[in-house]
């Protein structure tokens, strides 16, 4: 039996399998089932900077601007002092998860501009979050923004969040960096403790019938895993940051691969959305079985065994392999 306990961001986890940030984390019952099935920690869905701002401003527009505009109706809702459009409901949910679950609860923040919103990090800590996952989700659409400015802005965000709190902060990245290791070094320098690779872009589709964009949540598949394995394998031993893989974990073997590439923790989201909490038990059982069959006693033994640093044919992770593969295809 492989000892599955691990340390992630300084937290003692009984399993590397973590329920990743997603809609499921609204549902305490489902989360409890996941924990029963072996989850080692839970990442709450993101508190979005844009969403907070949008919601506050919408309330300002659709509730507050309708106060004192009519002789007969002073307003259209009960006294505004009773309703707060800030992070309070998120914090209440966070508290509920903390009280209801006996595994670490990691809060997630999503924002792109260093500014007023980073104070939410402190609120998350105060509400009992044991770590913060900072999701740097950014879309460059302005031709005037260079990669350097964007990256600097992101690092500023990381720094300002880290400064707000005493709990560890992990940073969730997108796969699209020209020089990922350099950027990761910057993240490390900014004070983060972990990396989560990678976030999945919200990708609207095109509806040909309606001539519109459709916005449906598309779940991940195992096909998305190799991109992540590659990144983790490459970064292993080149950064002090602990790494978690998020995206593409659908089977026990997927999870085992993630650990062997160098991940400390493995996040599961889509499989849970598709199958429910029992997916976690399935992945957990299969992963344990595989690791045991491979003869690993602890996760430390397995971690990074097939990283760029340790793999027997490590150049396979590198560019040379690309040429060979194409060559062999002929």
């Amino acid at each position: 039996m492989t000892d599955l306990t691990t340390r992630w961001l300084g937290l003692e986890l009984r399993s590397p399998l973590v329920v990743g940030a997603g809609p499921l984390t609204d549902d305490l019952g489902a989360l409890k089932a996941c924990v029963d099935a072996g989850a080692g920690a839970v990442v709450m869905h993101s508190l979005f900077e844009e969403q907070l701002v949008a919601e506050q401003m919408a309330a300002h527009r659709f509730i507050d601007s309708r106060i004192n505009m009519d002789a007969e109706a002073r307003s259209f809702f009960p006294g505004s002092e009773m309703f707060e459009m800030g992070s309070r409901s998120y914090l209440k949910r966070l508290e509920r998860l903390r009280n209801g679950l006996d595994v670490p609860v990691i809060a997630s923040l999503n924002g792109i501009s260093p500014g007023g919103w980073t104070h939410h990090a402190r609120e998350l800590e105060d509400a009992g979050a044991q770590a913060i996952e900072l999701n740097l989700y950014d879309l460059a659409t302005d031709p005037g923004d260079t990669a350097a400015t964007l990256e600097q802005r992101q690092l500023d965000v990381v720094r300002s969040v880290v400064e707000q709190v005493s709990i560890p902060v992990s940073v969730k990245l997108s796969p699209f960096y020209s020089a990922l290791p350099a950027f990761v070094a910057g993240v490390e320098k900014a004070g983060a403790k972990g990396l989560v690779l990678f976030n999945r872009f919200y990708q609207p589709d095109i509806d040909l019938d309606q001539l519109t964009l459709s916005r449906e949540l598309v779940l991940s598949s195992s096909a998305e895993l190799p991109l992540r394995l590659h990144a983790v394998a490459m970064l292993f031993n080149r950064t002090k940051l602990e790494m978690a893989i998020s995206g593409g974990i659908h089977s026990g073997d997927d999870a085992a691969k993630a650990l062997l590439s160098g991940a400390t923790a493995v996040q599961v989201v889509s499989a849970l959305l598709a199958e429910g909490p029992q997916a976690l038990a399935r992945i957990s059982d299969a992963m344990s079985r595989r690791l045991r069959n491979m003869g690993y006693n602890t996760l430390v033994e397995a971690r990074g065994a097939l990283s760029l640093a340790n793999a027997p044919d490590s150049q396979t992770w590198e560019r040379l392999n690309y040429a060979r593969l194409l060559h062999g295809w002929r």
Binding site: D64, F77, P78, G86
Partner: protein, 1197 residues
Amino acid sequence: MAFQTLDGNEAVASVAYRLSETIAIYPITPASVMGEHADDWAALKRPNLWGQVPSVVEMQSEAGAAGAVHGALQAGSLVTTFTASQGLLLMLPNLFKIAGELSPFCMHIAARSVATHALSIFCDHSDVMTARGTGFALLASGSVQEAQDLAAIGHAVTLEARVPVMHFFDGFRTSHEISKIAALSDEELQALVSHEGVEAHRARRMTPDRPVVRGTSQNPDAFFQSREATNPFYQAFPEKLESAMDRFAGVTGRRYRLFDYVGHPEAERVVILMGSGAECAHETVDWLLEQGEKVGVLKVRLFRPFATDRFLVALPDTVKSLAVMDRTKEPGAQGEPLLLEVSGALMEAWSRGERQTLPRVIGGRYGLSSREFTPAMVCAVFDELKAGAPKTRFTVGVRDDVTQLSLEVDSELDIESPETRRALFFGLGADGTVSSNKASIKILGEGTDLYAQGHFVYDSKKSGATTVSHLRFGPLPIRSSYQIRKAQFVAIHAPQFLERFDVLEHAADGATVLLNVPWSSDEAWDRLSVEVQRVLVERNARLYVIDAADVAEKAGLERRINTVMQVCFFALADILPRDEAIARIKDSIRETWGRRGPEVVRRNVEAVDSALAHLYEVPVPDKVTATRTRPPRVPEDAPDFVQKVTRLLLEGQGEKLPVSAFPPDGTWPTGTSQFEKRSIAQEIPIWESDLCVQCNFCAMICPHTAITAKVFEPEAARNGPETFETVPETHTSELEGLDYRLQVAPEDCTGCGLCVEVCPAKDRTRPKRKAINMQPLEEHRETEAENLKFFRSLPDVPRDRIPRDFKSLPLLIPLFEYSGACAGCGETPYIRLLTQLLGDRLLIANATGCSSIYGGNLPTTPYTMNADGRGPTWNNSLFEDAAELGLGMRLGLNKLVGRARQLLDGMRDRLPQGLYSGLTGPCATLDETAVAARRKAVARLRDWLAEQQGPEVQELVSLADELCPKSVWVIGGDGWAYDIGYGGLDHALASGQNLKLLVLDTEVYSNTGGQQSKATPIGAVAKFAAAGKETRKKDLGLLAMSYGHVFVAQIAMQSHSNQTTRALQEAESFDGPALIIAHSPCIAHGYDLVNSPAQQKRAVDSWAWPIYRFDPRRIDEGLSPLQLDSVRQKVPMKTYMQEEARFRMLELRDPERYEQLVAAATEAAQDQRELYKQLAGIHFEPHEHPESGSEEGESHD
């Protein structure tokens, strides 16, 4: 002593709440706010004086509230309620009971006109005067401070005297005026209230431990004595009140008397009055005393029981002439109530020998429906008292050229102290002007030693409303209970006001004028009209401009300019050091919006910080340079009445119109909204004819009839304006050969964007471009206005050519247009559609509410006529009785139809060939061919009658039109249908009469500000359901179905217009009562109404709003009467609920409760669906119908 700046409603509610255990209320303007405060405080668990949170219950009507009050009193509770006007009238029966049982009780009235020829939400004393015979003591306050103080005194005295108290103060003037007052602390209230009184009241409670009976029925041998047995309580009341007032003075230092006299100790002329007018008279008397006049004012605090002895003591013996001023009218009375009391008291004193002489007494009316009452008018009254033969009955504040009762008033007289600073602000309803002015008063009132007063005037529009804020502040107490006549500061917060009315009318000499305009300071002067420039030059004004909309927009506040303008006000008004003022504004922003969220605060603070850099002074030259004059308010070709009357009302000059200008019975012409042209949209929809698929969805959904479609003969449009584009009608075979055009009404559109939202036609290469797109008003205003004029002049094709399907119906002429409803209103499209189906044969009985305000609030009305001069005829009686009103219309109409038929039958033998059958055969209201033929037959009949002789001939001439079918529809909201009018609605349905009832269901009381009704769904946050409503929405449709003879439908037009048009037509064709419940998106739901079609679809798909039709005729076909028009539940309830702030608020506040209520709402929908599915599957054996029709029901065919 703690000073607070608050309005009369809050000041009174604060006292009443703390001194009560049970509060039963029902919303009514202008008293609703008191109940809302009580509800808010109870939700926040604020305790009363005895450490308990009072129970606040909203009832189904004021009659219900009074019943609950009565019951709570009988149970020994300390009780209060708040109401006004019609509400007070509904309470009357219980008030007699409560007084008859000598129950200690104090209620608070924001006095408001009782509806007569018209409803008015504004102030006079006709409501409380109607209640003066109930046995209640009537206590009058004249200012916010007094209203708070007398509220406390009222609660205190009733406990000791056992006579219930009706404490009243002037609606809007006092109820909504913000004023700096010395607030009463809990300790002060403790010292005032008699604990023994509370004990004694409780000891009298009903309890089986000490059983009694009350409410017996008494015979001639007993009733009279019992009534007389109450006399000692009334005799003792004045003294007890004096003692309470003495105690109050001891506690607070503020002294009141039953009659407060102010003036010369040897005054020769005195006015007597009560309410806020007395404050104006007080101010004027002070000024006249300085001029050396021997005058005085007697303020009546206690009107009933009228304390003759105290009155005689209070009135100086020297008085030679006396004017008694009543703020009410009792047509035909010898005099109004106060005049009669005063006259009687004097007469009695003289006859008893207590007075040697009698002063000359004259009686006047003033201030009906909040008509201004000013120092100039008080002076006019004093002048009249000086006259050799004054008018014994007079009016002041109105120009009566019919009965010549009015006094002449010097409108230029200004007596206000120069130390009092006065500022006027013209704002748009949604731009936050009033909110920031309220904040400014708080800043000045609570942060400085200055006295401050704010009064706010709103027009009756729900979109693009105009607000005028009147702010006074200064070192002296402010008694000016009237609007500002001379302002040292005038701010115009929206540029369009410069073109719409004389905004500078009240600018004082040397005034500072601040404009929010999108112009640079260099061009500003040249952009002004001759009228504006002239005032600026003549009054030596200083002019400042700012593009506040730009500043606000850059700060991310869209067009909410209030904080920007507030900073400019403080910077220019120079009352506080600039930095201090800005710091205080920021504090106030943090205090107000802090809990809304940091981003809201940040953006408002950013707007504050950037405001002053954009404020510029514009030098005012020494002469007028403009040549452009302000455009006429109504078009020059408008009808005479519109030119002479409506125009002045629109210009805000209605007060200057004489009595003779007005119809004496409240009858007004329809078709006047087309002359209003408010131009409130920033952007309007512009048609791209190449993309249009002629689906008419836009015209179907437009809340303001501001986009309409029409088909016409191609030749008819030949001479149209150059830009008048038309295309062949290509989508409906019946209309082949006709041309089609979609037309926007640029100056009537509110810019809500619903039309563009529902437009399905897209440019394949650039799908952003639809067949209609929002574009800046200014670029299209002139051309489209010209096009609209031509479009309206195009003759309509015969009605029977237009198919009756949902895509074609919008091609019928709408006879409801350009209402003042909210942008995006979900109610108005139903009414417009109804007028398209039935407009020229439609009688409407309208319940009070939003639909009566946008439907019938002057200056203009949206109901209009077709080219023949026919159109809907409309009446609003009350909130509670629309169904009864409609039923009465139906019955009355039936009798006229019967009489016309009777007369016709009498002439049958003499009629020309074929005419009789042409006038009597089947003719359903929806059968356009038959109706057209019937109209022709009636015309023939008239021609024939013109050559006949005899009394019946004349009678039939006047009734001949009744031979054409008519339809009676009752329209109202859910407050009416589910709550206050439910009994009548139920009865009208039960009557079996051919009457249609349309319920515009917004699921709250929208007009009074979002109070819950029984239509409010589970989980929704509303006033009086601040924690989210726990109980299910009443299934009104199911209740109506239970009769079996009622056509019932639930509809949702914005998402299911096909089902809606079917349901309306089936209801109309049903020969009996029909109830249509229409889902009506409303701003009280808290989301952007441009999304209402999608959101309404979610309502239907989640079964929050099932759509169905229940048609009893189907039983005869062996079918279930109920058809579900959307059977499946396609989306979860939560998907629907999470999109509206009324549900989302609860999620934010209490996520667990939200989840519980979502689950409960889901269950409720499941249960309803199960039940409905079973009902829809029910099979009845067809009934055997005996061959007889009801006499009354005949009118239909």
